[in-house]
Amino acid sequence: MAVDARLQSTASPGGTISKEALAQAYRPKRKFPFWQVVKHLILILFCFVILFPLAWVLLLSVKTIPDANMPNIWPATFEWGHYSYAWNKIPTLRQNYANSILVTLSTVILTSACAVLAGYALVFLRAPGKAIVTSLLVASLFFPTRVTAFIGIWQVQREFGLINKSWGLIFPYTALGIAISVFVMRGVFQTVPKDLPDSAKIDGAGSFRTLVSILLPLVRNGIVVVIIINFVIAWGEYLLASRLMNEQANWTMPVVLASASGGQGAWAMPRLAAVYIMAIAPGLIFFAIAQRWYMKGLQEGALKA
């Protein structure tokens, strides 16, 4: 059975089976698949590199405070009180959480909407200066926009009076994410055959109707990729959030996390770890829900140039 399948896959297009294919299919299999084992070991090693710090922090957050200074990784006794301690001890934490969620959600929605419209226009509509816009977007990916534009962003925000207003972060975050998002959406729209919008046009659909009823279902997975990219950008952004927000009530979660170690006196490590887990939990949950479509979107070529 297995040999048959292998023959099928190596058969030449004409249907005849070449001698080489036969020889390959009937070659005795090696007993010990050495390279398979090596490959898996490498993959497991990289998974470990990613997962070990996460697991370590998670376990640290349920250790008792004296136990946290011990070299053992597994906690001697489980102590769940650090979460409630951190939640109650940082008076603005609820507000910070709400800020993070508001800013991230708005950024994701705004950027995705702009990216879908822009990608559609860049691929299917006859817009003037398409090539210029595309090359500028690509160039900005190769350029440290975030750092170079930082002082400019600060001054613009000050002119508009958006300093210390947490919803004011939505606009710079959208600007940060828009280049890569438009680029991804453009790549996704390019995988759609051009005949589809053309036939929709013949049937009398306007360009907006074509986008909403024909193309949006086709690029669904690409949109999930864009949403996740922007979620990561907006949820984890530290630089702008720390500089543009001066009062603790307006901070987002990364700033709270960074200042919990230095700003408010030295916190015990398990409590810090508890804050950390609370800060990353929404991202983990979100990605766990969305990763099915994300992987599909990647396979469909969302990140191809």
Binding site: L141, F142, F143, P144, R146, V147, T148, F150, I151, G152, W154, Q155, Y238, L239, S242, R243, A258, A305
Partner: protein, 86 residues
């Protein structure tokens, strides 16, 4: 195989170079602003000029552009090194 992969390697190297040269978050969180420390990079210098002491923002913006242009030179060199040799 490697010559065929050069364009892909170019994109990866350039993107990685861009993000690595412009690192600032980590340095701001973990002890910057001390000129003797190896964490005092040009981005931290820019930040300090712009938002501490005299708040010399114009000067800091110029630092940012000089740094960005220097990176651009390296990127152009990379485009030359990784050019396709067909």
């Amino acid at each position: 195989v490697v010559p065929r992969l050069l364009p892909v390697i170019l994109v990866l190297v350039v993107l990685r170079f861009g993000s690595a040269m412009a690192v600032i978050d980590e340095y701001l969180i973990m002890g910057a602003f001390n000129r003797d420390r190896p964490t005092y990079t040009w981005t931290v210098y820019m930040w300090e000029t712009a938002f501490m002491g005299d708040w010399r923002q114009g000067y800091a913006a110029a630092i940012g552009w000089v740094g960005a242009l220097a990176m651009l030179v390296v990127v152009v060199a990379m485009f030359y090194i990784f050019r396709s040799r067909d």
